[in-house]
Structures are given as C-alpha cells and as structure tokens.
Point group: D2
Chain length 428, copies 4
C-alpha cells in the first residue's frame, strides 16, 4: 500500500468508526446526513438535500412522528437548525463534482442507514475491543452501511483530489433507508439520476470472501413490502353480534395470502412476518396490524403478487365488514447489469489494490433497492453495474456482524475510484 493510499484508508476507517458509534435508522439519518454533507462541501462538492434528492410522494415506510423525534435528537447532538431546515425533514443527500470539462455523468450510490439490532457485547467483537461500538441502545450498523458511507466519503476525497484528471461529472448518492428497501424509490423519483450515463453500486460482505470482489450481472428478487391494518368494531365477547373482529379477518387473510398461487415464470414468495391484534381476552378485537412482503423472480412476477395482495385484502375486509389500510412500505425490482458497465467494474477490480480475486456473483435471493435507481437510470439510457466487496462475517443482520474495516474498505474504494477513472478519466 502506498503511503498515499494508507492515508485514505486511515480516513475511511476513522469515518466509518465515527458513523458506527452513531447509527441511525432509515429516514432518521440526520446526524449522518449532516456529517456527509459537511464533508462533501469541504471537498468542493455541490450538495443537494431534502426534496432535491427525495420525492416526498414516492417516500415509503417513513413515520413523521419518528422523524420529529430524530430531528430533536440530532439537534441535541449538535446538528444546526439551518441544516435541518435544508433537509425539509428528508435525509440523504447527493454530492456533485463538476469538472467543467465535457464528459459523462457518473453516479455512485452509498446507503447510510442502520438496523434496529443491538450490537453484541462480546468483548472480542472488534467495535468493543477497539471502543467504537454503537452508543445507541438497540441500534447498530449490522449491515455495514457505515462502511459504505465511509467508502463514499473516501471516494469523494479521491475525486476531489483527482478532479484535474477527470472529465464530466461525478455524482455521489448517499441514500437513506435502504433497510426495508424504502429509500431508493423516492431518490429515483426525485430525478437526481436522470442525467446519469454510468452507475455503480456495491455491498460489503454478502457471499464475497475477504479480498474478493464479486461482480454481478443479474439477480435479486423483486419485492414489495406492505403494512396492513384492519379496523373492525370492538365489542364485548358476550355480544359478538355488536362487533366485527379485526383479529379474525387478519388470521383469515394470513391463510389466504399464505396460499396465493405461484407463477409459471419463476419463484414467488409471500411472507407474513408480524401480526398484532386485540386487547383483552374477552374483547372482540377492533384493530389488527400485519407486516408482510411479497417477492418475485422478476419484476413482473412481483407485481402480480403485489396485485394479488391488494385484491385479497380488499375482499377479506368486505367479507369481515372491516375497514383496512394497506400501505406500501418498500419496493425493489430485479437487477440486470449492463455488460459495458459490468466489464468496467471487473476491470477496475482486477487492478485495485488489496483485491485477491474477482469472480462473477449473481444473487438469487434477497432484495436491494439500488435496483430502483438502476431501473430509472437504464430507462434513460445509462449503463449500470453492481458488485460485492468481501469481508469475514457470520451473517448480515446479526448482533456480531463486522467488516474488518482496515482491509475491507480499501477494496470497495479501489473499485469505485477505478470505475470513475475508467468512465471519466481524461484521455492522455
């Protein structure tokens, strides 16, 4: 590692640990957004915030009351009121570096939110050993988005320091609320990526080994996340004719959704993850809540499943004489990379420091809302790719998830900066 590179690494590690201490859940990343925006501005980026990068109408899974509290919390933690006003309550930002020279627009995406998972207190867990564990009870960066953000900031610094060698525009997207696949749709709908020619996104870990870069050609299941509420008529159990049980409707709905037909074109999934209904044992339940999701091997199949959910819920509510509210809480589509972009990523990976192997790696399961940005970019003719940079871990979304930042972050950073070199580098 060159001394210069080592300096980048130290910077990214420090940033990542700073972020790791202050995890924030999706749509609530005000401290994180402030930290990113300040840095980008200090590096000469133009920063776009709030409704410039988030289309409010397309926002899913955002709780205004929780946002209020998060803004208060951020204020208490030193985020200036002016900045909070700029966000208009919407987290995330885009940093734009224009070289002034003709050339393509290249966008990279880094997601910034954490998970509602308490970090392990195992003293061997590196964040504990090196004293940068989450300070927030019940929250942690158990999916590595702290690392993503740090790589994004490292890439920003590189672009800033190498602007003379570049043409066109570099656009760094710091996306909120990837968990639950909530944030990307609103960022895409804002139009912020409509001028993008080249795009790359990435995830740390997944199936990639330490030092390995997995280049993805296609994959992910399309998915739609729903919250469902039924509003019945509560009554004393002794006079059941006075009520309409939201609980019975919810359970019947679970059975019907669970048995939705599949699709000849590929995998389908329905998963009901949570149900809460009723108060006392002898009260006919007036309210029921369900959290569920559908997935499909293609976007078309997922749309079919989502439509079936809507039809089912409407019919069941009528059958049980209850009202309902069915809310889309998140959405992602499938990924199909553009070979030109994928090849550039692969080439960048082959030449990046710290990379020990480059392989093809197509995720057949799981979902990633980066696909919502990619779909928008491809619709405008942009070329997109996605890759993985590996680390050693026992599973994402686990209390002991860790990424070995000092060796892992440089790999991601190496690929992203190499990608920019290849798309926007000045020809000699």
């Amino acid at each position: 590692m060159t001394e210069h590179t080592a300096d980048y690494v130290e910077g990214m590690v420090a940033d990542r640990r700073r972020l790791h201490r202050r995890p924030e859940e999706g749509w609530l990343e005000f401290e994180t957004t402030y930290f990113i925006a300040e840095r980008l501005r200090s590096l000469g980026f133009e920063v776009r915030l709030g409704t410039d990068v988030i289309c409010p109408e397309a926002v899913m899974g955002r709780d205004p009351a929780a946002v209020e509290k998060a803004m208060e919390r951020a204020r208490a933690a030193g985020v200036p009121q002016d900045f909070l006003d700029e966000t208009k309550g919407f987290t995330g930002c885009a940093g734009i570096l224009s070289t002034g020279r003709p050339g393509p627009v290249t966008a990279l995406r880094f997601d910034i939110d954490c998970l509602p998972i308490a970090e392990t207190d195992d003293p061997d867990h590196e964040p504990n050993r090196e004293h940068y564990a989450s300070e927030v009870p019940g929250l942690s960066h158990a999916c590595g988005h702290d690392g993503h953000t740090a790589v994004g900031l490292g890439t920003a610094r590189w672009a800033s320091e190498n602007a003379d060698r570049l043409t066109g525009t570099v656009k760094l997207l710091f996306q909120p609320a990837e968990e639950g696949v909530r944030g990307a749709a609103a960022m895409a709908a804002s139009g912020i990526v409509d001028d993008v020619d080249w795009f790359a996104g990435a995830h740390v870990g997944c199936g990639a080994a330490p030092g390995q870069v997995g280049v993805s050609h296609e994959g992910y299941l399309a998915t739609t996340k729903f919250d469902l509420e039924y509003f019945g008529t509560p009554c004393a159990a002794g006079s059941p004719e006075n009520g309409h049980s939201a609980l019975m409707c919810a359970c019947a709905t679970v059975m019907t959704l669970g048995s939705l037909p599949g699709h000849s074109k590929g995998i389908t999934r329905v998963q009901i993850g949570r149900i809460v209904s009723g108060t006392g044992r002898n009260i006919v339940a007036g309210h029921a809540f369900l959290a569920l999701e559908v997935r499909g091997e293609t976007t078309e199949i997922n749309d079919y499943m989502a439509k079936n959910v809507e039809t089912t819920v409407k019919g069941m509510a009528a059958a049980y004489e209850v009202d309902y509210r069915l809310t889309r809480m998140g959405e992602a589509v499938t990924y199909k990379g553009d070979e030109e972009a994928v090849e550039l990523v692969k080439d960048a990976a082959r030449h990046a420091e710290g990379v020990t192997s480059v392989v093809d790696m197509n995720a057949k399961v799981g979902s990633e809302d980066c696909t919502m940005l990619i779909r928008r970019i491809q619709a405008h003719g942009g070329k997109c790719a996605f890759f993985y940079f590996g680390c050693r871990h026992h599973g994402h979304h686990k209390p002991d998830f860790d990424i070995q930042d000092r060796t892992t972050l440089p790999v991601g950073w190496g690929v992203f900066t190499g990608f920019i070199e290849r798309t926007n580098g000045r020809k000699a």
Copy 2:
C-alpha cells in the same frame, strides 16, 4: 273403537300404504298430488292447484329438470295430462269445504314428500312383512309424511261426512317439499292462508310415545338453507397465474363461515354439509359447490346469520376474483303457538280415542317449515297450534323408520277432527 271409526282407520291405513309404495321427493309429488286431489274432489271439496297454492317467485330448492322428469314418470304411472297441466308443474294442493254457514276458516296442514333414503330390506320391517314397502329405489317415506297425508285424507272424509254439523270453512293444505324446509314459504306466499282464523299442524313420532300427544307451545330453530357456487377460472396447475381457483375460495369460505360470530340472544349454528370442487389433480378448479345451512334460536338470530353468510360469500368471491351464486334453498322460522289454539288442540287430544297421555312438548332443536305458514297466518290475526302424535321408532330419516299406522294414525286423526269440532262445530 266404534265400527264407524274402525272404517276410517282402515281407510287411512290403506291410503297410507298406497302412498308408502310410491314415495316422491319434494316438488316432484305429482302422483301423490293427483291421488289427493282426486279424493278431495270425490268428497266434495273444491281443489286448488298449481300457482293457486304455490307462489312461483317464493319457491326454493326446486330443480326444473327434475320436475320435467317427474312429470314424465307420473304420466307413465297414469296421471292424466290434463291434471299435470292444471298443476303448472307445481305440486301440492288445497281442499276447501265451505259449509255455506257463517263461521271461521280453519286450516290444517299435511306435508306429503318423501326422503332420498332407501328403505331397509329387513324382513321384520313392517312394510316388508306386509308387502307395501317403497317400490322406488333410493326413496322412502322415512319421515312419516305418508301418514300425515293419510290422516289428512281421513280428516277430509270426516269433514265431508260431518259437514252438516259444521259452520264456516275447512281448508286442508297438502304441502309439498317439507324436507329441506322448502315448500311452506311458497304456499304461504300464495295467499292461500290469508283468510285463516284457526290453524293446526302436526308431526308423527318425534319425541312422543305411542298413544301420546305432545302439544307444543313454542320451539324449533329458525333456519336458512343455502346452495353456494363459485365460478373461477380453470387453468393448468403449471401456470397458476392464468387461473382463479374456485376450490381455494370455497375452502377459505368454509373456514370463515365456520367461524362466524355467535349471538348474545341465543343459539346459532352454521353447518357446511357438502363441498365438491375440481376435476383433475393438476387443474386449477374452475367450479365449486357448497351446501350449507344456518340456524338461530330466534328468527332474528337466524336472519343475522343468513346476512353474515351473504356478506362473507360476496367478500370471499372478491378476494379470490371468482364469481358466485348463492341461492336460498329453504327457510323456516321459529314457532310460537297461540294459547287459544294450543288449548283447543290439548282439549281435542284429551278427548280423542286411542290417546293415552297428553303432554307439553317444545322442540328446542330441528326446524319445520310449517312455521312459515304459521307466521303468515298469525300476521293476519289467525290462531295457530302444533302437536306431535307418537309412534315407536328408532329415529326419523333412518332406513327402518316406521309408524305402526293402525294405532298411530287414529290418534292424529282424532286430534285434527276434534280441533275442527271445537273451532267450527255448530252450537246446539
């Protein structure tokens, strides 16, 4: 027994055995109706037939194709075409005997249909021993309506022979399709009982012992019978997205109907007795059939249940994107006798030949569509009663049901004729 009475008994026994040999199911009683009508006319009764006694719009559970075949069968058995024309395809009749003297209108009701139950071939079964068993495979009078009809004809003869001693009008109703509680609603809707002042109905057997008359003050569950069909979209199982399974909708409906809420005011019942859906194992089913019924301790409760069925079915069809047809196949309400009429029945029973005991007997379960006639009569101010005349049996609707006609029929006949004496007898 006087010689004169003995002659009545012989006549009723002969008639009952004649009818027992030729059982006919509900709405198909053309031979039976012809037999009754001929007799009534020979006794000087005015006979009303077809749509004069049956309101077609109120008919439930009648299959036109089966009626066609029954009429053919009746024709082959010697029923004249003219008579069949008179019926307009609707069985049952009313015999009216007007004394010409002012006085009340008294109606009695006798139901005439059989059951789709094959009679036992046990040689000890009296109809076998005495050679008058059912000649029709699969059908028999396993509920004793042959006895009811014979008692009705015996009562007709008595009224005819005693017309000089009577005032007002005697109206004998021979009602089709009591099984499945189908026929009474249409007879009531015809208006044939709208002028009735006094009314009595009866059933042989039930909980009454031989020689015993049970006088009923109230009872029966109200009930509605439904046939339900779902019409989905069949398709090959390999491409389930092309279909909508009527089978899945039917099974989900069963679970929802089965778990309909009860009612604080009394007993409710839902019973799904039959389901048939689907063709091949690997074909998504395009059609489903269900036969079901609801009951309630009061008519109001039954209406609540029936409405819930309708709401449920409509909603489930929407949830599963199938069409449906929900048809009322039968209906009965609860019974609440008028004490004036009940007392007359009780008094008649106390004085009838062959009666060994008279008790109060209120049926808490089961349903009887005589209640539909009673409701109509009471709505016009008439006074109604219902009673049981006992026999020895091992259960109604069993292949070996029998009524010991020679001793049982005179009891029913005695009460009915005694009732007329008390309502329409000329004062000395």
Copy 3:
C-alpha cells in the same frame, strides 16, 4: 335510616373510597389484603392468609414476577414485611368469627381486585368530584369490587357487634383475582369452604336498578380462559425451509378454533381476543401468543369446548412442527342456586333498608368465578345463593363506572346481614 345504620354507611363509604384510591389487580392485592386483615383482626375475627386460603396448585393466571414487584410496591406503601411473609405471596384472606354456640357455618364472599382500566378524568365523575379517584395510572375499580370489599367489612363489623345474637360461625371470604375468573378455583381448592352450610355472594350493578335487589336462581355461562403460546423455529424469510412459522400456526389455529362445532345442549362460545406473533417483516416468526376463552351454557358443554381446544392445539402444533404451551388462566362454572338459600336472600332483601324492589334476575351471559366456590360448597351439601344490588352506571369495565356508594352499599350490606340473621340468628 337509623343513626346506627348511618354510622355503618359512613364507615363503608370511607372504606370503599380508601380502597378506590389504591386499586390492585388480581393476585397483586397486597395493600388491600393487609387493609382487610388488619380490620378483621381489630374486630375480633380469626384471619386466615396465604396458602391457608389459596391452594397454590390450583392457582391460574398469576405471574410470579408481577407478584414480586407488587410486594415491593406494597412494602413501599407501608405494608409490613411480617404480613407479606404471612401471605407467602398469595393475596386474599378469610375472616372467621366463631360464636362458640352450636350452629351453622355461613360464608359470604367479597372479591377485591381491580381492572387494568384507566379511570375517566371527567370532572363530573364522582370519584373526581369528591377527590378519591384512583391514584394508580391505568388501574381502577371499574367493576365495583371496592364496594364489595367495603360491604364485606361493614358486614364484619355488624357480625362482630351482633355476635351475641348469633350462633355457629360466620366466615367472610375476601377473594383475590375475580377478573379473568382466576382466584375462586384456588380458594375453593384450599378447603376453606368445605364446612360451609350456607353461602351467599353478590355483585353490585349488573342489570339491577338503584335500590333494586335481583335474586338469582340460576345462570352464568361456564368458561375456561386459555393462554396459548407456539414456539416455532425462526429463520430468514429467504430460506423458509430452515424455519417453522409460529405465526402461520397461530393463524391456522384461530381459524380452526373459531370454527369448532357447537353443542346440541346449548350455547357455546369461542373467542380469541389477542394474537401477537413475529418480529420483523422478513423473519419467519419463532413465537406466537394467543389469549382465548371458551364458554358453554352448561359446565358439561364448556368442558367439551375446552377439551376441543386442547385437541386442536396439539394437532395444529404437530401439523406445523412447532411446540406449544397451553395454560388455563381462569375457570368458572354455571350457577344453580339452592332454593332454601335463595329464599332466605329474597326474604332478607324484602326487609332490608333502602331496598325499593326485589326481583328474580338470572344472568344468561357472562361468567363469575363465585360459581367455583358454590360448586365446592354444594358438593359438600351446603346451600348457596347469589344476588345483585343495583346502581346507576353506563356499563361495567368502562372508565366511568361508578356505584353511588352512599346509597348502594347499604343495600348490599342489608341483604348480607339479613342473610346471616336468618341462617345464624339465635332463636328467641
């Protein structure tokens, strides 16, 4: 009202308001029990506590952790450690007054627990207007057991002051945990009522008007309360083959329990009041909780329903490959009074001060665990009765439930003391 009586009334009103301020839920009534026991001892009663009146093996619906916290809270509120030790953690007590003269054992029962219902803050609500509203957030005596307890203490004073005029033994049962019909079974199982010859219990309000005493001959539905837990195998939704969903099992169970067959002998009920299952949307749920109850018009019918619950749950757990825990949380049977005792209550009511009418009043719905004590007493040959003393209210278990103590309590007290006079009064 005599001056003497007025003094009793003032005492009961003061006691009731004291208790009203400090409501305690079932099995947690340590302050209440201490208050009662101290008073009984001061009046010369022998007091039985803890496992002398509660059989631990028969206890239902008691959470040891909540008991621990309640004992701490009681300690903080001034209940001596010695007393808490005496209770062995079980609330409730019996006060025994032996006259030393031969005579019957007469027991009266007063239930003492409150409800988890926040009292209204309506300034017109009497406890607010007169400043004795519940001091405990979320808890209140919304079912009038504070009044029951006060009447019990007034009756204790009366018995103590009139001991010379009595024979035999007076046994006052202050029963914990009536809500959820939890406490009586354990009190019955302790044997404390096995020598009882005469018994009376009562409830304030219900269908009785102010000044009215409703004397009950029979009634109440038998009931069993269940908590049900399923323990599945959680897993990521992407690999459903690794898990067994407790949520799916719970919902299927709801549909099957909801559709349990009824019973020809009378009303049945199944009510699932609460379901909670699952964590995240994309996690197959490892745990599910359900709160449910069954009822039957007779104890036999209720037993049939409870057995069906057990069979169903066991089978469903097997079908879904999950473990389960089904716990009886409460139980009550039906009530059939002994006419000798009912007549004594009626006679006492007719002669009690403040009673404006005495009527027969048989509850057809609802459940009351006093029936568990009555069943035990009747099994040993004792004679039992139950009555209501009315008040003006808008529904039990409502935030604004109130009893107008000054006029209502004397009625209950008058009947209870009159009952003792009739069973244990010395003949002149």
Copy 4:
C-alpha cells in the same frame, strides 16, 4: 424419403391409428400391451411382461377394480386369457433383442397410456377426417402416446431388420401409466433397467415445431401426487358434538397445504385439484377426498414439500380427531442428462431424415416420469438423454390434440434409430 423408409412410415402410421382408435388409460392398457407384445415377438424380440417389468410394491395410482373391468373388456375385445394371465394384471412390457455380440445395453422408452379426455368431434380434426378417431367415449390419446408407441414399434422393426449391423442388446420399454407419473417408478423398481448403458426417451410435440428436434440437457420439476382421504364421524348437524367433520378438516388442510413455506433453492408448488366431501346439507360429513400434488425445482425440494404434506396431514387429522389415508399416486424427479448421451441424440437428430432444425430445449415446468427410469439408470452408471420431436398442435391434453403422424413419426423414429446406430453400431 427412400422407398424403404416410406414403408416404415406407412407401418408406423397404421400402427398409430390402430392404437388411436382403442385408447386405454394407465394400468389398463391390456389391448395395447397385447398388440405390442405380439408385434415384438413376431420381430424376434424376447418379451418380458407383468411382474418382470413392474414391481407391484412400487405401483402407484392403480385401482384393482378398474383393472378387473379392463381385463374383461380386453377379453371381450379378443385378448387371449393366456396373455392376460401372463400379465398378472400389470400392463406394459419390455422387448429385448440380443445380438449375441458383446456390446452395450441400450434402452429406449415409449409410454403407451391415454387420457380421460373426449376427442373433439370437429370434422376438420384429422382423426375424424380420416376415420380413426377414438372409439371409446371419454378417452383419447390427447398426449400423443399412440405416436410414441408406434415409433417404438417402428424402432423395433428397424432393430430387428438391422440386427446384423448391431452389437450388444437393444431393450425397448413400453411403459404404462405415464399420465399422473405413475408407471415409471414401478418399472424402474422391477430392475429391468439395471443393466442399461445407454438410454433415450422422448416426447412428441411440447415446445418443438414440426420438423424440429429439441434436445434436452436438464429440466422438469420433481413431483409427488397424493390422494388424501379423511375419515371423520358423521352425525346430524343438530348434535354436532356427536361427530367429527371430515369436511372441516379437509378445508383447513387445504388452507394449510396451500400456505406451505417455499424453499430458497428454487420453485415449489402445491396444487389441490379436487375436493369432495359430505352428503346432505344437514349431516356432519364423515368422509372427505382430496387430490393434490406438490412439485419442486429439484428432487430435494420436492421431497421437502412431500414431507411437509405428510406432516401437515397427520397433524390436521389429530387436530380434528379424524383418521386419514394419504396415498402416493405418482412420482417423478427432475432430469439431468448425461452430456455423452445428449450429444449422441443431437448427432442422430442432425442426420435424421425430415429434421429441419436441432435446438437445445430444457423444460422448466411440467413433470415426466421417464425421470424415474433415468435416475435408476444413472445410479447404475448408465448415460441418459431426453428429446422432443415437434408437431403442430394447440396444446397437449386438449380434445383437438393431433400430431400429423405421417411427417412427425419419422422424425422420432429417425432419432431413436440413429441413437442405436451410434451406441450399438458395429464398427466397420
């Protein structure tokens, strides 16, 4: 086409039309088997019949009563009793031609059963136009197995006439009961293919165009077919406590089976195609029948699904207190060809007369029980391939399915005989 080939074609067309007239369902193909066996013997083949080719213990979906009737029918149609005795009631046969020269054992498989689908009466349908339509009401060769059989007999003739040019052994398998994937498992279990070195199977039509040969490398879903019966306790609906409803259990089972979890490794399917339960509307159903199937993208996934069916059914029966019988009615696994064999098929296809194109064609849906034979052969080290030879049609299992025999059969025959030339041809 050479004159010699033309003679083969005429023979196959005549055979196919002969077979088309007399369609026989699976396990009932006695006339067909006799026709094949006679021919094979006339061509010098050793013929194996009955339990030599069918392992009775492994037979699925065979109704002994239907077999009895089919043997009677065959007898009436001229099949000698001696032959029927040889079959021991099991249809299908193997023809073995041993060249006497060392060399591989090569097996080809032809399925022989028809479908319960009435042939169209459209006069333009070729079998109608040329007067060889099915003579059996309700049955027809709507899946082209008549063509398969004819190709098998043509191949037998070719092998017989070219025996001098061959080494080793040619084994022609005429398999019964492919519809419902019933027959192959029992043929495999008989051991008849345990010495096979090379194997090819084929299907007419599917996705292949006329003149096209589709060579398959992998595909088909694994599947298990089940019949399920529940045996409850019937009773009158008025006394539901006396019964246990098989209908309710069946419907609950449908909901649970319908909502079985999927599998991360690939597609799963559950399909309930038929349900029949109950007799009368007011009778609690004592019996229920369900026909269902599961499928999986791999054999492992299908086994997982089939095991889940077994667990579910056992648990549901316990929950509803009914007995059950779950019977495997058919089974097929997935197909993974051996490239050596697939290449030989491809090469044969490229050189066959009448073939206009050769393509790779891997079926992602549907099931084929040839896979059961292939699995057995591969387990013993044999090399297997499967291919399609196209025709013009509007869908298999349709009343108007047709294969244009004169041009289609030569293609299949050309590939099969070419395959034998390549595996068993004498080197010059």
